[in-house]
């Protein structure tokens, strides 16, 4: 029987949650005995090659590309997990949610103290994804099956959840790994 596949991605996040995945350390070797990584920065596969048992999503949705990637994860993954604070509630990127988008852009390209923009141009290349009006938690864009809190989540929490999901057992994060910070 083929090994189940896991996909991971970082949307509007800082890759801190992926660092936590790497913090599983030498047990990653045990992990790849029983699973394969599909689309993920860990093996640098850019597009889905197959259906995946579990998708781990770091970060919320700040732009249209984030939404496209998140929707593809929902399409290809049986179980979709919001990994970390940004995926769950937007966290740091969502600090802009109380400021209108126009004001954010004005600060970033005109008014900010370190801005050098003599031509007064707001980048608008078609390669650049358009910003959303605010940052959305993943659960407000697609259905999320499970969440692992933390900024970043403890490696042990990720390990425990992944193992439980792969074995089809009930998930319980022990108190010491239940963290929002």
């Amino acid at each position: 029987m083929a090994k189940p596949k896991i996909a991971t991605t970082s949307l509007a996040g800082c890759f801190g949650c992926h660092m936590s995945i790497l913090d599983i350390d030498e047990r990653l070797v045990d992990l790849i005995e029983v699973i394969d990584f599909d689309k993920s920065p860990i093996d640098d596969i850019k597009t889905f090659t197959d259906r995946c048992a579990v998708g781990l999503v770091e970060g919320g949705c700040a732009n249209e590309e984030n939404v496209d990637v998140l929707r593809s994860f929902r399409e290809y993954c049986d179980i979709l997990v919001a990994l970390g604070g940004c995926a769950i509630n937007g966290d740091i990127p969502s600090l802009r949610n109380t400021v209108p988008l126009e004001e954010c852009i004005r600060e970033a390209y005109f008014d900010g103290p370190s801005v050098y923009n003599p031509d007064g141009v707001i980048p608008n290349d078609k390669e650049l994804p358009l910003l959303l009006d605010k940052v959305y938690p993943c659960s407000e864009v697609v259905k999320i099956d499970y969440s692992i809190p933390g900024c970043p989540p403890h490696a042990e929490a990720i390990w425990i959840v992944l193992n439980a999901l792969l074995k089809g057992e009930p998930i319980e994060i022990p108190y010491e790994y239940m963290r929002y910070d």
């Binding site: 604070g85 509630n89 740091i92 969502s94 692992i148 319980e172 929002y180």
Partner: protein
């Protein structure tokens, strides 16, 4: 009137003194009833409803309801746990709670309750309200993004500090904590050592110049869930 009052919590017999509330008697007996707006030593405000228990089949706030002989109290039923969880969920989505950079993280009672209840993510959509800070005072600041409108600072400032600095203004979603000066907190005689500052269960009313003074791992709720200290009483007594 008898000297002791006997009643039950979840079928277990508990004894208390006349005049005690359910919460006081439960604490003394080593039974933890979750609570949030009730500050240690402060008068109950009954605003958060987290301590709601069933008394003879009716919902009542344990922090304010007096005990009586033969009273039947339900605390850890599935219905009440779900009810409390929903309140905690709503408090999270109603404000802007960024635990990862909050100085109160690790000793925040709202966060600790969420941990105890095993809430991985609130189930309601986030509101991202726009709230104001008051950093005018040299030693204390108000971070309204984290305010849960419990009113502990109102009670503590009035009853303990004798200053009466805080009060609520506005109604419904417009309700917020205000201070007794048009110049903000700097126009009041607030001080970092005030009981009102200490009473804040979250990171909304904080002393300046303290920052992240307690390392991760040694903060109030790092090792054991909120309420463990109360439950320990019962365990110790039962071992004797």
């Amino acid at each position: 009137m008898s000297e002791t009052i006997t009643f039950t919590i979840d079928g277990v017999e508990v004894q208390g003194a006349p005049g005690q509330t359910i919460l006081e008697a439960a604490d003394a007996a080593g039974v933890y009833i979750p609570r949030l707006c009730k500050g240690e030593g402060l008068a109950p405000r009954t605003s958060c409803r987290v301590c709601t228990v069933m008394v003879n089949g009716r919902p009542q706030t344990a922090c304010s309801y007096p005990i009586s002989d033969g009273m039947v109290v339900e605390n850890e039923t599935e219905e009440l746990m779900t009810f409390r969880k929903n309140i905690i969920d709503m408090l999270f989505i109603e404000g802007n709670h960024y635990c990862m950079f909050c100085e109160a993280s690790g000793r925040c009672e709202l966060q600790a309750l969420a941990y105890r209840f095993g809430i991985n993510a609130p189930k309601y959509p986030f509101m991202y309200p726009k709230r104001e800070l008051d950093t005018s005072h040299p030693d204390v600041y108000i971070e309204r993004n984290r305010c849960i409108l419990c009113g502990r600072c109102v009670n503590a400032s009035r009853d303990e500090d004798g200053k009466g600095i805080f009060e609520f203004i506005g109604r419904g979603s417009e309700k917020k904590i205000a201070v007794d000066s048009s110049r903000g907190l700097s126009g009041t005689d607030a001080a970092a050592a005030d009981k009102a500052v200490e009473a804040c269960p979250v990171g909304s009313l904080l002393p300046k110049h303290r920052g992240y003074d307690i390392p991760v791992g040694r903060r109030a709720y790092d090792a054991a869930p909120i309420g463990s200290d109360i439950e320990r009483h019962r365990k110790e007594r039962n071992n004797e």
